[in-house]
């Protein structure tokens, strides 16, 4: 490439006051030299033709100017290396690229960062195991946590579980966790409470919640014609910087295999309770059917934990009555990871596993109060009959109804009603909307240990956010030219980050800068140009386009 020719051409470009060829831009001397030259020529912008790895922001910080005013383009990769053996082509391209970069800087305006204070407290919605673990991990890092639980006691779904397949005592774990939470001065627990309104953005949320009994009292008073005293009906307002959604889930209710019609047909949860409270009686034969209401058309997902639950209960039955017959009808056996050892153990102990296909489900009949199951055994290619004392169904994990929260908070759910994370690999416990995190069964079916790990992750993410004393918006954010805004809200509809909102009084749209990621979708959606990116305007792009031709 002909650097001399490039320098000549650059000198002639509109607005250029100084051109220099520097051997290595990444050295300290180069940085200070550039800084000096900028001040000497009273330039208000710089163009650097460099390689792809150049750290523009660092250089700008080193010189002490707004990084928006320094434009870099990759001379090496784009012009030189892609046109090897053709110096004329390479030079031509270099000149064109320089011209474009100069145009961009010529029309550039400074973009200062805006800073907002961070409210260093967190809100956890949901006092189940995941919610509590998340709250604890946030409190352990020194931040205040408000834990709002819909029911009158903490614990969520874990209250109905006694042990894990590995043999842990779940109720003891639950007791310990609750005790720690209730005695922690940094954790403020509100039971029998539901969040009613949330406004604001990451670092600065305002949350209103109502305590049900209070609300019911107020309603009763109002119905009785009494004047509701203002304090009673008032909703407390919390100011937090981050929110964790741990709203949980529970076992679904089967609609087949005579569930609800015969008292000997129960779910795994109900069966486990009887295993522990001694109401099981003498057991000669237990049958289990897996995937009842999971992995079908209505609910195509696998509920992950039911197979280990079945193994857990099957092993317990064998422990209590070694001679009992235990038959498990399954489509696959999800004994993933180290759970495989329990599958082996179960088979060693004589538990039978019979596969069935979705199109040939086992048939369950009630013959004079006695259960009779008939199913096809694929290896024998014949029918088998089981007459169990108990039929245990593995019901699916169903997320609790999140529709109200979804509406209030503007977060996303999957088709199955679980909360949807921002990105499954890189941001597994974040929501797309900044400042809100998720964990537990509300996100996806998972075991207790998996819930705990996920809750700790959500806690970490929360702490990472809260530990910044201030929140700064990006440099290139969207803004509104208020006079031009017709209030059509097209920009609000295309923003993936919920960063724009309508000022109903003025009839125009405004930007929540803290949430804006600078993607520019609003700029394109706005036909009149009322939406623009501060730091990268239409005029700049159009100008660059002109000189590129």
């Amino acid at each position: 490439m002909d650097m001399g020719k490039l320098a000549e051409a650059a000198k002639a470009m509109a607005g250029v006051v100084h051109v220099e060829e520097v051997p290595f831009l990444c050295t300290k001397e180069a940085v200070s030299s550039i800084g000096a030259k900028i001040r000497q020529h009273k330039a208000n912008g710089a163009v650097l033709a460099t390689c792809a790895l150049f750290a523009t922001k660092k250089l700008a910080a080193g010189i002490g100017i707004d990084p928006c005013l320094v434009q870099t383009f990759n001379l090496r990769e784009e012009a030189a290396w892609s046109n090897k053996g053709n110096p004329e082509a390479a030079t031509r391209k270099a000149i064109a690229l320089t011209r474009m970069a100069v145009e961009r800087v010529r029309l550039q305006e400074a973009c200062p960062m805006r800073v907002m204070d961070m409210k260093q407290a967190a809100l956890v919605i949901g006092g189940g195991l995941a919610g509590m673990v998340a709250a604890q991990s946030i409190a352990d890092s020194g931040f205040d946590v408000h834990l709002v639980e819909k029911e009158t006691e903490l614990g969520g779904n874990a209250r109905r579980i006694y042990s894990t397949v590995q043999g842990s005592d779940v109720q003891a774990l639950l007791r310990d966790t609750i005790e720690k939470i209730e005695n922690d001065p940094k954790i403020h627990v509100y039971k029998d409470a539901e969040v009613s309104e949330i406004s604001g953005y990451a670092g600065n949320f305002q949350v209103a919640f109502a305590q049900q009994r209070e609300a019911a009292k107020v309603e009763a008073e109002q119905e009785a014609g009494q004047e509701a005293s203002p304090e009673k009906g008032s909703k407390p307002l919390l100011e937090v910087g981050a929110i964790v959604l741990a709203t949980g889930g529970e076992g679904g209710i089967p609609t087949e295999y005579l569930y609800g019609k015969n008292e000997r047909v129960v779910t795994q949860e109900e069966f486990e309770k009887r295993l522990f409270d001694g109401t099981l009686g003498n057991v000669k034969s237990v049958a289990m059917i897996q995937c009842v209401g999971s992995r079908d058309e209505k609910r195509p997902y696998c509920s992950r934990v039911c197979c280990s639950q079945a193994l857990k209960n099957a092993l317990r039955v064998k422990e209590m009555s070694p001679g009992a017959e235990v038959v498990v009808f399954c489509r696959d056996l999800m004994s993933y990871g180290f759970l495989e050892q329990y599958y082996t153990l179960a088979r060693d102990k004589g538990v039978l596993f019979i596969r069935y296909e979705l199109d040939k489900k086992p048939e369950v009949k009630d013959e004079g109060g006695k259960l009779k199951i008939q199913a096809v055994e694929p290896a024998l290619r014949g029918m088998v009959t089981v007459e169990p004392d108990w039929l245990v169904l593995s019901a699916p994990i169903v997320p609790n109804d999140q529709s109200k929260l979804v509406e209030i908070m503007g977060v996303e759910t999957t088709e199955d009603g679980f909360f949807k994370e921002a990105e499954v690999k890189f941001r597994p416990v974040d929501f797309v909307k900044d400042g809100i995190f998720v964990c537990g069964l509300g996100h996806s079916p998972r075991s207790i240990s998996e819930s705990i790990v996920q809750a700790q992750a959500a806690g970490e993410r929360t702490v990472a956010l809260l530990s910044r004393p201030q929140l700064s918006s990006g440099r290139v954010v969207s803004e509104v030219r208020e006079r031009w805004c017709a209030g059509c809200e097209m920009c609000i509809q295309v923003c993936p980050y919920d960063a724009r909102y309508k000022d109903e009084e003025r009839g125009i749209v405004l930007v929540r800068e803290a949430l804006c990621q600078g993607c520019g979708a609003c700029v394109v959606a706005c036909p009149s140009g009322a939406a623009r990116l501060r730091g990268f305007s239409d005029t700049q792009i159009l100008s660059m386009t002109e000189v590129a031709i």
Binding site: A486, C488, P527, S528
Partner: protein, 374 residues
């Protein structure tokens, strides 16, 4: 479920019956105001007017075959800042209603307390043709309908109307069902929503008998579609390609009347009036140097292509753009034609449903697979 009632035409003709209908609405306090075209004193034209005094409706002429201003624009002006507190009945043609629905989606109009009375529409003339028509007869509305009944071909009908596939309202509280009615004797009134039902019930009209409305609509639409395809073919032949386009748009003087009269173009300040397209003299000279000569002002065709990009998904084909053009550039033809290609891509009919999202504000993950691989 549309409940239907019959409006018996008195001896005074169709227009008189409609006037009486609207008067009844005011007098029975079913609505507090009516937006309807009133005859100008000169009788050479009509103008949409907001009426509260029943007596003023004596000069109401909703059937006058002319569309000077799109009612959607009028309603947007009225309800944009704040919705109506009083009940207002709005008499409008199907294209106006469709445009209004699009404006509601764009938050430029609010339908609170508005009773939409959609009128089946057999078409309209240009303002000047109407002026001529008005000199030939004192009762333009009735005369026009007589011509329709007689099945006469009408060369004065605007092209936009000749090819309109929606002569019936898609979304209205009440429909004045002229198509298929023997409108000298009686007119079918359909209540399409609970609000419309309320008003129709309040009028105390007899219930309607069986109607031949759908069959008549199908026939009319069939004719219109045929004509539409003819016009589209013509448009294609006359405008496709840079050369033909430049010559079609050669007379365009950049007055932007088309944009101003378009009900869909709602921007407070159009991007073409902004600084985005203002340049220094040196830039112009630079361009002139590149090409040898450039037409001034620049961006004649560019303006139309951008306007297409911005609004063609919502174009309802009312044709007022072409009416407004001082140099008779066939803007409507081109915009409608392009619209007929763009809107089906998204299975979108502008004005069909208030809840239906504008195509450019939404997306599906699984669509348009070919884009990116052509």
């Amino acid at each position: 479920m549309a409940k239907s009632a019959t409006l018996t035409a008195g001896g005074g003709g169709v227009v008189k019956s409609l006037q009486q209908l609207l008067k009844d609405m005011l007098e029975k306090k079913l609505v507090e105001a009516v937006l309807v075209p009133l005859e100008l004193p000169s009788k050479e034209g009509v103008v949409q007017s907001l009426v509260t005094r029943p007596a003023a409706l004596d000069s109401a002429n909703p059937l006058a075959p002319v569309l000077p201003v799109n009612t959607a624009n009028v309603l947007s002006k009225m309800t944009r800042l704040a919705s109506s507190e009083k009940k207002v009945a709005v008499v409008a043609r199907p294209c106006e209603l469709r445009a209004l629905v699009e404006l509601v989606k764009l938050k430029q109009a609010c339908l609170n307390n508005i009773v939409l009375i959609g009128m089946d529409c057999y078409g309209t003339y240009s303002v000047l043709d109407y002026k001529q028509f008005a000199t030939e007869t004192p009762n333009t509305g009735d005369e026009f309908m007589k011509g329709i009944k007689a099945g006469q071909a009408d060369s004065r009908l605007r092209e936009a109307c000749q090819i309109c596939e929606y002569p019936y309202p898609l979304l209205a509280d009440i429909t004045i069902g002229l198509i298929g009615s023997d409108f000298d004797k009686e007119i079918l009134l359909l209540a399409n929503t609970p609000l419309g039902q309320q008003v129709v019930d309040g009028l105390g009209l007899p219930e309607a008998q069986a109607d031949g409305r759908q069959a008549a609509i199908d026939k009319l639409v069939g004719d219109r579609v045929k004509r539409r395809d003819e016009v589209f073919e013509q448009t294609l032949a006359e405008t496709k390609g840079l050369e033909k386009l430049t010559s079609i748009f050669a007379p365009c003087i950049g007055c932007h009347n088309c944009r101003d009269m378009c009900p869909i173009c709602y921007c407070k300040e159009c991007v073409f009036d902004s600084d985005t397209f203002s340049f220094e003299a040196d830039k112009y000279v630079g361009w002139a140097e590149k090409k040898g000569a450039i037409r001034m002002p620049t961006d004649t065709l560019f303006f139309h292509v951008i306007r297409l990009n911005h609004m063609v998904t919502s174009c309802v084909g009312c044709g007022l753009c072409q009416e407004a053009c001082p140099n008779s550039v066939p803007v409507f033809r081109i915009f409608r034609f392009v619209g007929s290609k763009v809107q089906p891509t998204f299975d979108y009919v502008p004005g069909r449903d208030v809840e239906e999202e504008l195509p450019l504000t939404t997306y599906k993950e699984d669509e348009l697979q070919k884009v990116g691989y052509e």
